[in-house]
């Protein structure tokens, strides 16, 4: 009886050691070699965008280009980028304390351009503001994702792992800029990838490619020769909702205080 138990324990022990080794080995086999994109080092870039509001003419080229490039649903409520039109009335000297109420509209996200509805306004000011994912360095959408399906890549782009996304919509609610939507075809979240498939191949984004006035500029903050450094130096630049400490990397020149 004692002999049998000893044999059993000895055999069992050997099996355990073998299984353990196999388990750890399996871990390595499944993890595999980390894969890298050819000729692109994620550690050598830090992407963002500069938008010059004083150059935006509201033509909608960026919105159309984005939808064409990224296969965004054509319905008028799915956008990776869109253009807003602001109308800010003058301060009324009789009621200077009244809260400023800008009018904001974005018919079909600016996809079809804008009718000149403010042509008869004698007062106030009106301008266009292109909007997109701000590629936050401390992104609220990443913080709320329960499964690690959305993340900040090492080169500073907020991406979505569609094979991992549950479609729970936490990130849609968390984004302070309203940049996310649920794709009706996949029921997973979709957003601007800063044309990650283009910028990793040395191209610029589709919106920058299509912008006729150069109002948008793709920028690589890790590149010392990038014009962004001169842009930031020579302009009064602001990000959207700086009070939320999102680390937004879309830098606006000429951003009015009324823009939300």
């Amino acid at each position: 009886m004692d002999e049998t138990r000893r044999d059993l324990l000895a055999t069992g022990g050997k099996l355990l050691i073998l299984t353990g080794a196999a388990g750890i080995g399996l871990d390595f086999v499944l993890a595999g070699e980390p894969e890298k994109a050819p000729n692109y080092d994620v550690m050598k870039h830090w992407w963002g965008m500069a938008i010059d509001i004083e150059k935006c003419i509201g033509c909608g080229n960026c919105v159309r280009a984005c939808k064409a490039e990224n296969d965004v649903p054509k319905e008028p409520f799915y956008f990776r980028t869109w253009v807003e039109r602001y109308y800010v009335p003058d301060v009324d000297p009789r009621e200077p304390h009244a809260e400023m109420q800008p009018k904001v509209d974005s018919p079909n996200g600016g996809y079809d351009g804008f009718d000149d509805v403010y042509r008869h306004e004698k007062s106030g000011k009106t301008f266009f503001v292109p909007k997109m994912c701000n590629q936050c360095a401390h992104s609220p959408c990443v913080q709320v994702c329960p499964v690690g399906a959305t993340f900040e890549s090492p080169d500073g782009v907020v991406l979505v792992d569609k094979s991992y996304c549950l479609g729970c919509r936490y990130c849609v609610q968390a984004c302070p800029y309203g940049c996310r939507f649920i794709d009706p075809r996949t029921h997973t979240v979709d957003k601007c990838t800063l044309c990650y498939h283009r910028i990793t191949k040395g191209l610029t984004t589709a919106c920058c490619e299509a912008c006729p006035t150069g109002a948008r500029m793709l920028v690589d903050l890790k590149n010392p020769d990038d014009p962004i450094h001169e842009f930031l130096r020579s302009n009064k630049v602001q990000i959207l909702k700086p009070q939320m400490a999102t680390g937004a990397k879309v830098y606006y020149n000429g951003l009015d205080g009324s823009v939300r």
């Binding site: 595999g32 033509c59 080229n61 044309c195």
Partner: protein, 154 residues
């Protein structure tokens, strides 16, 4: 004395055995369940970065246009449209860039295209050239007077 102390040690072995089996089951299950590359850069699947980069571009990019159409770019360089990339007006053409004979580039409809940018709009920066098309040209087509690649008046 020592013998007495370890006399009933078998059930201790059993507990240890169970713990070891538990740890092993966990390790194997973890190896199977955690996807490849998870945690390499952070709390996400590292190959998802490669997935995002895998798509084929739809817009070819200005450099691709310049490979063949340097004559057009030379014309453009002298005019006000020098900063406007080809695909801003001609649309996405990576298929044409990959095989120029496969996709014929359709000429854009001059009038409809030009007003996309140049129709009068109060929200546009005042310095940007804008017209009310009916007052500016009646029913005439823009290209009767303007050269799109270098749009001064002929």
């Amino acid at each position: 004395m020592l013998r007495d102390l370890y006399r009933d040690a078998e059930h201790l072995f059993r507990v240890v055995l169970l713990c070891v089996v538990g740890v092993l089951v966990f390790l194997v299950a973890r190896a199977v369940a955690v996807p490849k590359g998870f945690g390499e850069y952070g709390h996400y699947r590292a190959p998802a970065i490669r997935d995002a980069a895998a798509k084929t571009p739809v817009f070819a990019g200005q450099a691709a246009c310049a490979e063949c159409h340097d004559d057009v770019l030379a014309t453009k360089a002298a005019g006000a449209h020098r900063g406007v990339h080809c695909e801003a007006c001609h649309g996405p053409l990576s298929a044409h860039a990959a095989d120029p004979s496969a996709v014929e580039v359709a000429l854009p409809d001059g009038r409809a295209l030009c007003v996309t940018c140049h129709e009068q709009n109060a929200s546009r920066p005042a310095s940007f050239p804008q017209v009310v098309p009916s007052e500016h040209a009646g029913d005439d087509v823009c290209t009767e007077c303007h050269v799109p690649h270098a749009p001064s008046v002929q």
